[in-house]
Amino acid sequence: MEEKKLKIMVIDDENIVGKRLKPALEKTGDIVETFEDGEKALARFNESPFDIVVTDIRMEKIDGIEILEQINAKSPHTKVIIITGYATVEVAREALSKGAFDFIAKPFKPGDLREIIKRASKELRA
C-alpha cells in the first residue's frame, strides 16, 4: 500500500539550508516547501497545514520558539523539529517543554535530519 505523502515545511533564514534540504528530503517522496521568512511561512501554514515543520530557532523577525507555539496552537498534531544554532541544554529543554518533537543542532548532515523526520512520520502514521 502506498503511504500517504507527508507535507514538510523547512524554515531557515539561511537560503542554502532550504536549497539543500529540499532535494534531500524529497527523496523519501514527501512534499517539501522551504521558506526564509518565518512570517511568510506561518501565512502559508494558515492556508494549508503541514505535517512536519523544520524551523531554525534564531531568525531575524520571528524566532523558532514563536513559530513552534503558533503551530502548536493551530495544529497540535503537526510535528515541529527545531534547528538550534548550537546545542545548549537550556534551548533544547525549552523547545521540548513547549511541545517540539525533537531538535537538531547545526551543523548537521541531511541524513541526521532524515532520521528524525522518519521517526516523526512513523508517529504521525501510527
Binding site: 539561511e14 542554502i16 548550537y86 547545526k106 541531511p110
Partner: protein, 519 residues
C-alpha cells in the same frame, strides 16, 4: 595635552625583573638608579629639607647669640657709664668745693690750702680717667680743661703768696674766669655723660623690641619656605595618588629645580606606578579574555551557520554526485567556497581582537575602531535582538590611541548596553568633535532601564557589579576608565534615567605635524 607613549610592557621581561633578588642587593639598587623614569628626578642639585632646617635653626641660634652679646655689651657699657658718672660727680664736687674755699678765702680770709687741696684731688681724678674724659670731650677740650685747671691752680697759688689787697684785686678776675671755665667743663662732662647713659638705656630698652621684630620676619620667612617645600609637596603627592587612582600611570616628573627628601618618595611612587601599571596590564589582559569569552559564544553561534551550509552542501554533493548536472555541481562548489570564506571572516575579527600584542600608541581612524568593535559584538547584538546604530560626523581627524585597547573599551560599553536591554532595545553610537578642543567624543547610548541613581557614582569602581554572581567581574568599567585615562582621554557616565543610559568617551586628537598639514 601631553600623551605619554608607552613603549609597551613586555610581560616576560617585567616578570623577570620582579623576581626578588636575594643574592645581590647592590645590583638591585643599581637597577633602581638606572630606572629611566627616575633620571630626571635624580639629575638635580640636592637641597634637602634636613639641610634647610639645620641651616635655619643655626641661623636662629647665631642671631640669638648676636643679640645676647650685643645686649651684654650694652649693659656692660651702661655699667661703666654709671661708674664714670659717679667719678664725674666727684670731680664736680671737688671743683665746686675748691671754688667755695676760694670765695671764703677772699671774703673771710680763711685757709686757702683747703681750696688747693680740692683742686689737687680734682686733678688726680682727671689724670686717673684722662682717657675716658678725653674720649668724651675730645682732645682739644680736654687739653683746654687741663690748662684751665693748671692755670686756676697757679692763680690760686699766686693768690696765697700776695700780701697786699691791690695785687689781690688784680688776680681775682683771672681766677674767677679760670674757675668758671673749669666748672663749665665739669658740667659739660656730667651733662654729656648723663645724656649718653639715657641714650644707652633707651637702646637697652629697645633691643628686645628689635629682636622680636627681626625674629618675626625670620620666622615668617622660614615657616613660609618650609611650608612651601613640605606642605605644598605633600599636597602635590596627594594629587599624584588621586591621579594614579584614576589609572594614570605616567611617571612623576620634576617640578622644582632641586631634589630633597621627597625625591626619594617620588622615586618610590614611580616604582609603585610601574608595578601598578604592570598589574594593570595583566588585569587588562584578563578582562580582555573575559570579553573574548563572551564574544566567542556569539561567534560559535554565528560560525555554525556557514558550517552547516558547508556540511549540507558537501553532503548533498556527495550523495547526488552522479545525478546532478555540471552546473549544479559548480553552483554547489561555489557555495562551499563562499561559506568557507564567510567562516574565515567571522573568526578573523575575533582573532584580531584576541591577539596578544604590545601597547602601541599611534594615529587611528576612529570610524574603523568603532566599526570593528561593532562587528565584534554583532553576534551578541543579533542574539539579544537589539538594534545598533552607528553615526559619524564627517571629516573627523584621527585620534591618538591603541587599537586593541580602544576596541576593548567600545566592546565593553556595547556589551554592557546589550546586557541592560531587553529584546527590541536600541543602542546608538555617535562620534563627533568634542566641545573640549583637541578631542573627539564617542557617545554610547542605550534606551534601557538606566542605572539606579544611588549606584551611579560607584560604577567605575573596580569589582563593583550589578550583575549576578558569576556573570560580571565588576571590572569592565574600571578597566575602561584605566585604558582611557592611560590614553589621555576621559570616560564619563553622562546620564542615566529610566529613558536610558549614556556613556561618553573623549579621546585626544593626534597632533603630529603631518596630521596638522593634512588637516
Amino acid at each position: 595635552m601631553k600623551i605619554i607613549a608607552y613603549s609597551g610592557m613586555n610581560p616576560k621581561k617585567e616578570r623577570r625583573s620582579m623576581k626578588p633578588n636575594f643574592f645581590n642587593k647592590d645590583k638591585k639598587t643599581i637597577n633602581d638608579q638606572e630606572d629611566p623614569d627616575n633620571i630626571p628626578l635624580r639629575n638635580r642639585p640636592q637641597k634637602s629639607i634636613r639641610a634647610k632646617i639645620t641651616i635655619s635653626f643655626s641661623l636662629f641660634f647665631i642671631f640669638c647669640c648676636a643679640i645676647t652679646s650685643w645686649s651684654y655689651w650694652i649693659l656692660t657699657q651702661l655699667e661703666h657709664k654709671i661708674d664714670f658718672l659717679e667719678i664725674t660727680d666727684n670731680y664736680m664736687v671737688e671743683i665746686q668745693q675748691a671754688r667755695r674755699f676760694e670765695k671764703n678765702y677772699l671774703l673771710y680770709s680763711t685757709d686757702l690750702n683747703d681750696a688747693l687741696e680740692h683742686i689737687k684731688k680734682a686733678n688726680t681724678i682727671l689724670k686717673e680717667h684722662n682717657r675716658t674724659i678725653e674720649a668724651i670731650l675730645g682732645k682739644e677740650h680736654f687739653n683746654k680743661m687741663i690748662i684751665y685747671m693748671a692755670k686756676y691752680h697757679d692763680q690760686l697759688a699766686l693768690l696765697g703768696d700776695v700780701e697786699n689787697d691791690q695785687d689781690r684785686e688784680k688776680l681775682v678776675p683771672m681766677l674767677r674766669e679760670y674757675g668758671s671755665q673749669m666748672v663749665s667743663f665739669a658740667e659739660e662732662i656730667v651733662k654729656k655723660e648723663r645724656s649718653s647713659v639715657a641714650r644707652m638705656l633707651l637702646l637697652a630698652k629697645r633691643v628686645p623690641l628689635y629682636f622680636i621684630f627681626v625674629l618675626l620676619i625670620l620666622v615668617v620667612f622660614v615657616v613660609n619656605s618650609l611650608v612651601r617645600q613640605v606642605i605644598l609637596t605633600l599636597k602635590r603627592f596627594m594629587d599624584y595618588t588621586k591621579r594614579i587612582g584614576e589609572g594614570d600611570f605616567s611617571p612623576i616628573v620634576p617640578v622644582r629645580k632641586y631634589r630633597d627628601e621627597f625625591t626619594k618618595l617620588a622615586e618610590a611612587f614611580n616604582r609603585m606606578t610601574k608595578e601598578l601599571n604592570h598589574r594593570h596590564e595583566i588585569l587588562l589582559e584578563s578582562h580582555k579574555l573575559r570579553a573574548i569569552g563572551t564574544l566567542v559564544a556569539g561567534v560559535a553561534h554565528e560560525l555554525n551557520n556557514p558550517l552547516n551550509n558547508t556540511l549540507l552542501t558537501a553532503s548533498m554533493l556527495k550523495e547526488d554526485f552522479k545525478e546532478i548536472s555540471e552546473d549544479e555541481k559548480l553552483e554547489m562548489i561555489d557555495d562551499l567556497i563562499n561559506e568557507t570564506e564567510r567562516s574565515q571572516r567571522i573568526v578573523k575579527d575575533l582573532l584580531d581582537f584576541a591577539r596578544e600584542s604590545e601597547t602601541l600608541i599611534k594615529p587611528l581612524n576612529i570610524d574603523e575602531i568603532v566599526n570593528d568593535s561593532v562587528r565584534l559584538v554583532a553576534n551578541q547584538v543579533r542574539l539579544a535582538k537589539i538594534k545598533l546604530d552607528v553615526e559619524f560626523e564627517e571629516n573627523l581627524p584621527r585620534i591618538h590611541g591603541d587599537e586593541q585597547m580602544l576596541k576593548q573599551v567600545f566592546v565593553n560599553l556595547i556589551l554592557n548596553a546589550v546586557d541592560a536591554l531587553s529584546p527590541g532595545g536600541n543602542v546608538r553610537i555617535s562620534v563627533q568633535r568634542d566641545k573640549l578642543p583637541g578631542y573627539l567624543l564617542v557617545t554610547v547610548q542605550d534606551d534601557g532601564p538606566g542605572i539606579p541613581e544611588h549606584i551611579q557614582s560607584r560604577i567605575f569602581e573596580p569589582f563593583f557589579t550589578t550583575k549576578g554572581q558569576g556573570k560580571g567581574t565588576g571590572l569592565g568599567l574600571s578597566v575602561c576608565r584605566g585604558i582611557i585615562r592611560k590614553l589621555g582621554g576621559y570616560i564619563h557616565l553622562k546620564g542615566s534615567s529610566a529613558a536610558g543610559t549614556t556613556f561618553t568617551v573623549s579621546l585626544p586628537i593626534t597632533d603630529s605635524p603631518s596630521e596638522m598639514m593634512s588637516r
